[in-house]
Symmetry: C2
Subunit: 179 residues, 2 copies
């Protein structure tokens, strides 16, 4: 577990804070309704979880997560699209992919406290719900059933991403062995 640095607030401070997510549970329910992450969450779960999240708005071009930063939140995209950009070995930035409403970003650093793997930039006006590691710890302590539900979701999400990434890696290895 890595210590937080001020960078954790730096990026979020550039965004417009829309307050606690609990003031907009209805919007969140509607927006997250089709998010795979919340598939088997009840309305009560989402209401409770919202108390532990803060909502921000980012304008097109604003950075939401910055590669290399030490910070410890994950986020749910409520509205808008976000581009994921990674610096390559030559120091050049490459757009890797883009994601939209319902997608989650930043779980790895939320979990392991290691520096951010990539940069996330708002493509259009984007609303995000931010869920920090502190909140995760609090939920596990105070609401263990909800805590387990979130942990199971995270574990499933990471497992699926690991599977996909491993398959891609193997395909590239095979291709480069064939050439």
């Amino acid at each position: 577990m890595t210590e937080n640095t001020s960078s954790s607030n730096y990026v979020l401070r550039q965004l417009v804070s829309l307050g606690s997510a609990s003031s907009m549970v209805e919007i969140i329910l509607k927006m997250l309704g089709h998010a795979q992450f919340f598939d088997d969450f009840t309305m009560d779960d989402i209401v409770m979880l919202s108390k532990f999240m803060a909502v921000y708005r980012a304008e097109p071009g604003q950075t939401i997560i910055r590669e290399g930063d030490h910070d410890d939140y994950m986020l749910f995209i409520l509205q808008g699209r976000i581009s994921i950009v990674k610096t390559d070995g030559n120091g050049e930035r490459r757009a890797m992919t883009s994601v939209g409403p319902g997608a989650t970003l930043g779980e790895m650093s939320m979990i392991d406290g290691e520096p951010r793997f990539a940069t996330c930039i708002a493509i259009d006006t984007t609303t995000i719900a931010v869920f920090a590691r502190d909140s995760m710890v609090k939920i596990i302590m105070e609401e263990p059933a909800l805590g387990s539900k979130i942990l199971i979701k995270l574990v499933t999400l990471l497992s699926q991403r690991l599977r996909e990434t491993s398959v891609s890696l193997l395909q590239h290895l095979e291709r480069s062995n064939t050439v």
Copy 2:
């Protein structure tokens, strides 16, 4: 969540069952003592967890996990080394790596119920502690604090592996772009 098939028992049935792990807590404590997975587990935690694990012995060359199988256990290597083998696009088996005492294997299928990604074969006489998804569910229900601890460990482990695999993938992508 995929349904279990009989394959789940098929492979384990070939191995010598050494009974419940709780009958050998001392051995497990000693063997798992240096396993990263159990870093912040208390002795009580391991004693409790042992009740939910079964121990097996595999002889050199025996298959412990078979690629493509639908089964839902993960395992901790107590003694011996295990080779990890993956079938490539041409149907040829390639040794990917080998792991020893303290390593965990098979978390992905335990978590997401998808088919096994690779085959695991005992290199020498190997003792493993098997932890099935049913047991995970039981612990979460009956021992929520221990359940959260295990889930946090799993989430951290997967996050680290995803990070490593992503780095490897990017390196290969860069290399093949440069060529």
